[in-house]
Amino acid sequence: MKFFSKIKYPLLKLIDVSGFKVFDPVIRLLYNEEPQKQVRDIVKYMVLPIIFCFICIWAWNFLGPRHKTKSGEVPTPIEVWNVANDNYRFSEREEEKKTAFSLDGDKRKEEILFVKSEIVKLEEKASFLQQESMRVTEEVKVETDAKLAPVNARKDALKAEIKQAKAEREAEAIAHAEKLMAGQVTPDSLVALIKKHKEAVDEEKAKSKLIGDELNEIRDNPPKRLKEAQLAANKMEDEVLHYKKRIDYLTKGNKEQKIAGLIEKSDTAIAALAAATTPAEAVKQAKAVVSSSEAAESTAEQKYPPAATIFYQTKRSVATVFVGFLIAAFVAIPIGIMCGLNRVVMACLTPIISIFRPVSPVVWLLIFQIVIGAFFPDPETHPLFMFMNSPSNPLAFLRTDPAMIFSACTVAMCALWPALVNTALGVSAIDKDHLNVAKVLRLGFWSRLFKIIIPSSLPLMFAGLRISLGVGWMVLIAAEALSTSDGLGKFVWDEFQNGSSASFANIILACFVVGIIGFVLDRLMIILQRLVSFDDGSAVA
């Protein structure tokens, strides 16, 4: 109990620092502090916003399917949720394959039996669903045909009618023309007749278009259960395929099995070498020994090459944005300090800052691909990538490649400016009294810089860095989409390219992921900013 009451204020302070002041009344309520007021606050600042969110989701759910777009309907929240689950399952599958790849000994055998038994079950389900889907397809086809039949009949009737009308018109026109030849009617009346016919044709066209639209309407809107049945069947088939792939990874694709095979091969070759009768044969077998043992060694180092899951993409995006952000900070802060300290430096850099700040990230990306690309003529043997991707490096999972560096540099280039400008202003806006203190104490340049100037401009510097990180995160998504650097940007771009029925939902999912991560990054920066700001910090939003 004592501990409970002891942590009250630290707790309140923590949520204050982390910017989650919304939860303040909840904590206070727990401590029974003015419960009525707290409940009022909870209702006002938590319940109402949550209700509002639900209203938004409901509106989305309601309006989404009613808005037809070029890429189909706007997916509903449920569809997005399903897609999120699919993405999760996809990453689970990658994990399962990875495990299968490296399992060895009895575990592997057990796993094989388990997976095989699962396959039998799943195949049963799949074939049931497949039949179900076929049945529904048949049913729907019958239904649709039934719906189409009368319309088609009308269409045929109309066609016949039109054909006949056309023939009649032609005959009428000829007859009229004959009369004209005979001088019974004026040429004008023939023109008028043709004009009338043309109008009739237009009318017919409009009619057949209407029927065509009606047909399309029926064809384009099959009942939902058809799509659902197909989707269910497809999903189960995918699952079966995955389990079969797992068997592959447990048997011939298994690391241990591969190595064992190679060792066996080398043993065979050793035996053959011993039994060799001709020099050529001996050399051949010796070569085989070397090559198979070498292959075994390199196989031992092989790792399962995982496909890019949304988790991996997210991790990579976050890593890239941090690399870019750190580059930006390392460049921007010293330059910003110089600008703030010296007005000549500021004057020299102002035109550069003004010109380059508005440049689009896309342009930077293209420039960096050319400029920085020159440093990695052969990425695979480049020390940076060898180091980053060596199996012992804990960051090897990021699979660093030049595209990542380009994206990070683009992020850095765009995130540079807010940090630079803010640092410069923070330094130049330093309290004159503080400088006077430095003067009175006769501090040297470096101690003035590190003891007075930098600490005093830290809050602004961090305000700038916070903006930088936000800008960087936004820029990154675009840069990744363009540079094929793995990450959320590529996830979005790939989905766009996929053009599958789930693509739109996937893009919306990515939108949420990007948003949430951006939010978390911003919160982190706020906390940092609060930690370095020396007043009560309440000013930081």
Partner: protein
């Protein structure tokens, strides 16, 4: 030759053709261990005078001498205590003083330094607050911390730039006593700027009025012939105190009237605009949108 001298000093600004003198013909001699109060109206150039003494602003004409040496740059020999404390907000009381002590006495060992610092913190009665940051302190406590920092430099001259003007009356009298007590125990030359006649009379040995600017200069000085320690509770009955107070007040009001008569433009209400300047706008304005209030506007002129 006096201990601290201001010799025929002029300070002004503007190009030579239309120059405005802030201070003109300033002459002041302060003896060692003397407590001098300079009293003046807002805008008369009191802070300029203080900056001059501290070396933060060089004189255009004339010189400032300490112990016969000409001073043009600031140094720890003239410890200045600013009106708005000037504590570094990211450092605790102890660290603020430590920064000063470290740079002035670099050879001090760690334990010596700590003792030295604690000595001054104790002196201003801030021991319980030694690890607090300035924003966690009251105005009075901040000024105490500032005083401790200034004293810790062991300056030859203590320059107090309206040190108490931002405080409420109670804290103010409390601190006046505190300063007097410390000064009593550890005699030192003090130049204090103030706009409070009572304060000047209570604390100083000598009171020098500063006339209204532009072109302010030091007027006829008043010597305070009252024995120390002076007790503020009985002071109001002290005839010398009453005499000095009324004399100085009358004198000050006279110079004010004179100045208004001489310079009628002053009476005309001035529009509240700043002269146009092409330097970057003040930080407070610029960054208000970033939601950062940590930079407070600096009021350069006295109140």
């Amino acid at each position: 030759m006096s201990f601290l001298e201001i010799d025929n000093v002029n300070v002004g600004f503007g190009p030579p053709t239309s120059r405005t003198e802030v201070l003109e013909n300033i002459n002041l001699s302060v003896e060692e261990n003397e407590f001098v109060a300079i009293i003046g109206f807002s805008g008369s150039g009191k802070s300029t005078l203080m900056n001059l003494l501290a070396g933060l602003q060089p004189p255009d004409v004339g010189e400032v001498r300490l112990n016969g040496e000409v001073k043009t740059i600031p140094g720890p020999d003239r410890g200045i205590m600013f009106q708005n404390y000037s504590l570094l907000p990211w450092l605790s009381v102890f660290e603020n003083i430590e920064l000063a002590v470290k740079s002035v006495f670099p050879k001090m060992s760690k334990s010596e330094r700590e003792e030295h610092i604690m000595n001054y913190i104790n002196m201003v009665k801030l021991t319980p607050a030694r690890d607090r940051k300035p924003h966690e302190l009251s105005g009075g406590m901040r000024q105490r911390a500032s005083l401790a920092r200034t004293l810790s430099l062991k300056p030859e001259v203590l320059l107090l730039d309206e040190p108490l003007s931002a405080l409420d009356a109670l804290t103010r009298s409390d601190l006046q006593d505190e300063i007097l007590k410390i000064w009593g125990g550890d005699k030192r030359t003090v130049v204090m700027i103030t706009n409070d006649v009572d304060e000047a009379v209570l604390m100083a040995d000598r009171i020098v009025p500063l006339t209204m600017g532009p072109g302010a200069t030091l007027a006829k000085e008043f010597t305070v012939n009252m024995e120390r320690p002076r007790d503020r509770h009985t002071l109001n009955d002290h005839p010398e105190f009453m005499r000095l107070k009324s004399e100085i007040t009358t004198f000050m009001l006279d110079i004010n009237k004179e100045s208004k008569a001489k310079n009628p433009a002053d009476v005309v209400p001035m529009p509240d605009v700043q002269p146009k300047d092409f330097t970057p706008p003040s930080a407070t304005l610029k960054f208000s949108h970033l939601g950062n209030k940590s930079i407070t506007p600096v009021n350069e002129t006295s109140q």
